[in-house]
Homo-oligomer: 311 residues x 3
């Protein structure tokens, strides 16, 4: 492969750190990695990934592990802070400066905004943000883009809706920003209380067309991609409001009767009941394939930051 950009030792903290050209390059590398997910590779043999998960995760953690193993590397770390020396009062800076001596790359998930950036400033090895606070989840955004690209053959020109919790979900923040680098029409569908924050919206609107909606029915027939997120009941001060909204956003066969034949339905998972199980067996459903794409994209990212891709 041609290495158009040098990602060696680069931190992946925010999707905002990437240009569109860089993202396109990552997606190209990912596509080239597809066969390696089947047959494995020794590309990262002898390399160690440290996972520091200060918040539990199944998907992100396991898919980074598989990505590392498929490339011949290994994984250390903790899946919850209770087992770690954090309990003994160690600062995050110290934990990072210790763990970088055990590893070649760090993936960190943390409940606090900015934690990954802070870690990246201390670490000499590359730090990948596996989700921090409510703001950032850059590798999820990249795998979402990759899934859209694989399913539709392109990103430019698509009509895309993000639906559900647009306020607290870190996934949709990173994804909305990433999509704004492309020539897409973006529809934000959410209850009033879960609208995307003004500052995020204003930033995106400087680059692309964005419209906001309470209902999905009106725009559904025009959509190419419907990205659904879980609405977390506990966010709502008024449970009646929650119940009303919840029904509105159930994606089922009835709703999808008005969709384009090639509409792609995505979800970062876990879902609870935003998408009816009857949708799973339809061609619309790409949310399980999405998780497989997460492995591919993370393989590409690990290989890139560890300098394993040579011209």
């Amino acid at each position: 492969m041609k290495t158009r950009f040098n990602f060696t030792n680069r931190d992946i903290v925010s999707i905002k750190g990437f240009t569109r050209e860089e993202i396109d390059y990552i997606l190209e590398i990912a596509a080239a990695f597809e066969p390696l997910a089947e047959k494995g590779s020794d590309m990262l043999k002898g390399k160690v990934l440290a996972e520091l998960f200060f918040e539990p995760s199944t998907r992100t953690r396991l898919s980074f592990e598989t990505a590392m193993y498929k490339l011949g590397g290994n994984v250390i770390g903790f899946a919850e802070p209770g087992v770690s020396s954090v309990k003994k009062g160690e600062t995050l800076a110290d934990t990072v400066r210790v763990v970088e001596n055990y590893s070649d790359v760090i993936v960190m998930r943390h409940p606090l905004e900015g934690a990954a950036r802070f870690a990246a400033e201390y670490a000499h090895v590359p730090v990948i943000n596996g989700g921090s606070g409510a703001e950032e989840h850059p590798t999820q955004a990249l795998l979402d883009l990759y899934t859209i690209l694989k399913a539709k053959g392109r990103i430019d020109g698509l009509n895309i809706a993000l639906m559900g919790d647009l306020r607290y979900g870190r996934t949709v923040h990173s994804l909305a920003y990433a999509l704004s680098l492309y020539d897409v029409k973006l529809n934000m569908v959410s209850p009033e209380l879960l609208r995307m924050r003004t500052e995020v919206l204003e930033d995106i609107k400087t680059r692309i067309d964005v419209t906001e909606h309470r209902d999905v029915e009106d725009i559904l027939p025009e959509l190419d991609v419907l990205y659904v997120t879980r609405i977390q009941k506990e966010r709502f001060p008024d449970l009646g409001e929650y119940e009303k909204v919840r029904g509105t956003y159930k994606v089922d066969l009835d709703l999808l009767r008005n969709a384009k034949d090639d509409l792609v339905v995505l979800h970062p998972l876990p879902r609870v009941d935003e998408i009816a199980v009857e949708v799973d067996s339809t061609p619309f459903a790409k949310y399980f394939e999405q998780t497989r794409n997460g492995v591919i994209v993370r393989m590409a990212l690990l290989a890139l930051v560890l300098g394993a891709i040579k011209e």
Copy 2:
């Protein structure tokens, strides 16, 4: 090795899914794998096993991990449900459909009957039951058979007793069924409250001779194999009954004075006090070797379902 049966992509959910010929074949493959447990192999290089342990386990979990590593593969997963997205309300079907995208084979332990079969129906990768409910533990049954075969040179013609908790122990259910495919004499030794359930017993009796006993002393002199299980105190409504029974079933040197010289004593472990530690250093004791055989048999099973054994 000659591949007489095709196990590629096959689920291992219940011992009842196997014919005697298939079991014999698996035990043959296991024997051929013995040297690989010492020197290792690259047979499963690039392959990833996902362990979904919804119930804690040391033995089964660690021996599957070692089996995978000895064949050059890797392992992801969780050792207890608390760390996983199950906490976020994800269904088992969804967890399986996500994890199959991160892995080439799944091993699952679950407190509920039928959970492994349910998972196998959803997964496109092979699912191995690492113990579900009180009914099934097929890989334990296979390693028990392998241990008997290694120790005695044959299974047919043996006089075998299963002793202890025959009602709730999933190990003895799977093992009793497996043994009923061979020409053995089977003795069930248990307190009244922990007798094997009638439906299990009736099924086994259609194929082989089975007798039930309260005491082991009478049949001990004739036994070739004594398989001991832990009696769980908490099962007994009447503690006095428990205390009486408990004493009856302590396997110690005094009891073993009347045993054949080549009696084999097995136990799925962990033991509490069913077998006195003084027995550990006698030639009767094969229960620690049994755990080593677990690695061998699981190596064979992983290689088989992953299609790594070629003619």
Copy 3:
């Protein structure tokens, strides 16, 4: 490399099991392993390390894992006893006799004195003590020596202070013994309540000069190595005493103004506030490098006990 000593299958339970010549040999092997920490090796391919951590640990656990992975081996085990069959009432002896059948070497951390020695007596595979009770942490002592040797080019002739909790810290017990095999001047700096126990001190004094101090200021200008440990608040019956002592032992730039230019400051980590963060960027600070040396030394130890170093 020349193999002057045979460590194959040897347990590493106590630093007292080593002669000075053996320790020198281990440090030489470690130095030769430095390049392997960068590029990796297949030296332990097919080998499995079992970690039995009955007490949580980040540093020791993760650095053993990285050491194993860098040499091509793999790791199984548990990071806390809750996930293991210990909960089902299994004895330590049984756990060890099971796990040795899954592994080629065992690393154990345990809250009780003597637990590692007990395990070593039962296991047929080598057992490495990863910290037991308040007495022993032999691999930490070896990595401390290695760090001193790397930083100063020698151990003999150095003036060394151990400061902080000398009573309960297992690290300083093992290190003090190890240093007493060399021609060093040893200074023990601690509050009255945390003085090193008389029996340990008397033993060390049979070999080298040892002096005890309440304050570090007087001896600081002469020191080559200052080894700081965390004082655990909960040890003090009188909190006023703790507060007074705590201030005395803060290593900061002000204190270090009177130090030799090439003073080496070490700490087993995690630190809380015994060393000010302003010291981190000075040439004195070797405590993060110390963690990296832990990987190197443990690589050497694993290769040695697994017989992977051939003449």
